[in-house]
């Protein structure tokens, strides 16, 4: 596997907390510029993998290279290549949206921090809320700000740990669009989710983490082949609740908590 086409390479990753053996030898590769979805139920160890790959946690054994750098021996180089959007929107509640973005821009030592902040605020539909404290934002707005913060400095690889958990349907679709745009622009996206439709919609490759190992991985087409071939059946197609919800609320982008 040449380093030029591989963004992430994970081999034999193991990790235990006290006596719980969370990861029991995890292996996978992620191609540069692709969207990779790691599926698993709650507590399967998805976040543990993300924390190891983002240099926040040391594995007990195994190796992982991120952007061609080893997480154990070159953590600083890894951090230059990545960006993390954690499970809970890690934004500063007391600062305004714009101040959050400027803070990250200054920490990444990019020039024209103010201008970058304004661009991102516009792109993520937060321009109006830019001067408000984040504590007044809705969940979807926080998540958008969170992801916007991760884009500063144009990291090659972005980790998104359950980015749509707790979002309403519109918020989820917004985030999906952002992820798709990222991949289109060449960024590698590592996504964890417990929503199967999310993986189905977005991911180039999907891996399922179960009882500490990757039990299957491949493209959606690969995974479909694992089951008996599809049979043609007549089923009346009812609209899904999501389709109904989106149709009657009639908006594809709601920025603020409902106006009164």
């Amino acid at each position: 596997m040449e380093a030029s086409t591989t963004a992430l390479q994970v081999r034999g990753l193991e990790k235990s907390y006290d006596k719980v053996h969370v990861l029991r030898g995890v292996d996978f590769d992620v191609a540069r510029g692709s969207i990779f979805a790691l599926l698993g139920s709650n507590g399967a160890g998805k976040t543990t993998i993300v924390r190891i790959l983002t240099t926040l946690l040391k594995p007990d054994s195994g190796t992982a290279s991120v952007g061609g750098f080893d997480v154990g021996s070159q953590p600083a180089r890894v951090r230059e290549s990545i960006s993390l959007t954690g499970q809970f929107a890690a934004v500063d509640e007391i600062l305004t949206g714009r101040e959050n973005l400027i803070m990250i821009a200054r920490l990444r030592h990019v020039k024209h921090a103010g201008q970058i902040a304004d661009d991102l605020l516009g792109r993520f539909g937060l321009a109006e809320a830019a001067g408000r404290r984040v504590s007044t934002y809705s969940g979807g707005m926080r998540r958008r700000l969170d992801i916007a913060m991760s884009l500063i400095g144009s990291p090659q690889i972005i980790f998104l740990d359950e980015p749509t958990t707790g979002l309403d349907p519109e918020g989820r679709i917004e985030v999906w669009k952002v992820i798709q745009n990222l991949a289109d622009s060449g960024t590698t996206v590592f996504l964890t989710t417990q929503y199967l439709d999310e993986a189905e919609k977005l991911a180039d490759r999907i891996a399922i983490l179960h009882q500490g190992t990757i039990i299957v991985s491949g493209t959606l087409a690969n995974l479909r082949k694992l089951l008996p071939p599809a049979k043609a059946e007549y089923v009346e197609r009812q609209p899904t609740l999501e389709e109904i919800f989106l149709a009657i609320t009639g908006s594809d982008n709601s920025d603020t908590k409902e106006p009164r």
């Binding site: 240099t55 951090r79 993390l84 954690g86 809970f88 934004v91 200054r106 920490l107 030592h109």
Partner: protein
């Protein structure tokens, strides 16, 4: 990495100073409470306290300043704890920054916030009759001791902030420290206390610090008190720093 230490630390400092200025309750507790204590002791209890000649506020000032600092550092622990809870601590640690700047931002904020409240309290003290004949050098010595005292308590606060399980727990460690000046020479001379209490009062760190600052304000010789005070502060500072680093390593293991 470390080349960015100063730039990164200044971003962190700016961030958490905004937290201080935007949460009015922290400013109120840190400065109004000690001022209330000062007024209470000067105008209510002070008349009955025999603490030598001169205005009682002159006797009281060093202890009030230490109480202000002790209550101020509780917020340092609280802010650090909140950062850990919200996930922003991990976000910073996954970024290409000087990692130590995350803690130093909090430590310097603590120093800045406490020095501001010290200045405010001294100004209020001047209004109600506090006077000092100290020269520039003595004032510098007072500032130096207060800075050292603040740093010492701040690193204790870092331990609490990093290892607390709840927001209340993060601030609770400060209560015994706030209480220490009451069992010292801060409000009344130790000579009036019964044996065991007096022994405790005379041998705990606050008394030596208070006596040193009081002597500096009054242009009296500081004697060996200053060395005891410095030894206490430096000793506790080193221990607290080492423990804080251990707690930090456990967090980012």
């Amino acid at each position: 990495m470390s080349t960015h230490f100063f730039a990164d630390t200044s971003v962190m400092l700016g961030r958490s100073l905004r937290h201080v200025t935007r949460s009015m309750d922290t400013i109120i507790t840190v400065t109004i409470m000690p001022i209330a204590f000062m007024l209470l002791f000067v105008y209510v209890f002070g008349g009955a306290i025999k603490a030598g000649a001169g205005h009682y506020v002159n006797y009281l000032m060093p202890g009030i300043l230490l109480i202000a600092i002790a209550s101020g550092i509780a917020y340092t622990a609280f802010r650090l704890f909140t950062d850990l809870q919200s996930g922003i601590f991990e976000r910073f640690h996954s970024m290409p920054i000087a990692r130590s700047s995350v803690l130093w931002g909090h430590v310097l904020t603590s120093l800045a916030a406490n020095m501001i409240s010290v200045v405010v309290i001294v100004l209020v003290g001047l209004l109600i009759g506090f006077r000092s004949s100290a020269g520039v050098l003595a004032w510098l010595a007072v500032v130096g001791i207060l800075v050292l005292f603040t740093l010492t308590l701040t690193w204790i606060a870092v331990i609490a902030g990093l290892s607390a399980k709840s927001a209340d727990g993060a601030g609770a460690f400060a209560y015994p420290i706030i209480f220490l000046p009451f069992i010292s020479s801060a409000f009344v001379p130790t000579a009036s206390m019964p044996g065991p209490v007096r022994a405790f009062a005379e041998n705990q760190p606050v008394t030596s610090i208070v006596d040193t600052i009081r002597a500096l304000f009054a242009r009296q010789p500081v004697g060996h008190d200053i060395w005891i005070a410095l030894a206490w502060c430096a000793g506790v500072l080193v221990v607290a720093y080492v423990l804080a680093m251990m707690a930090y390593r456990r967090k980012i293991a």
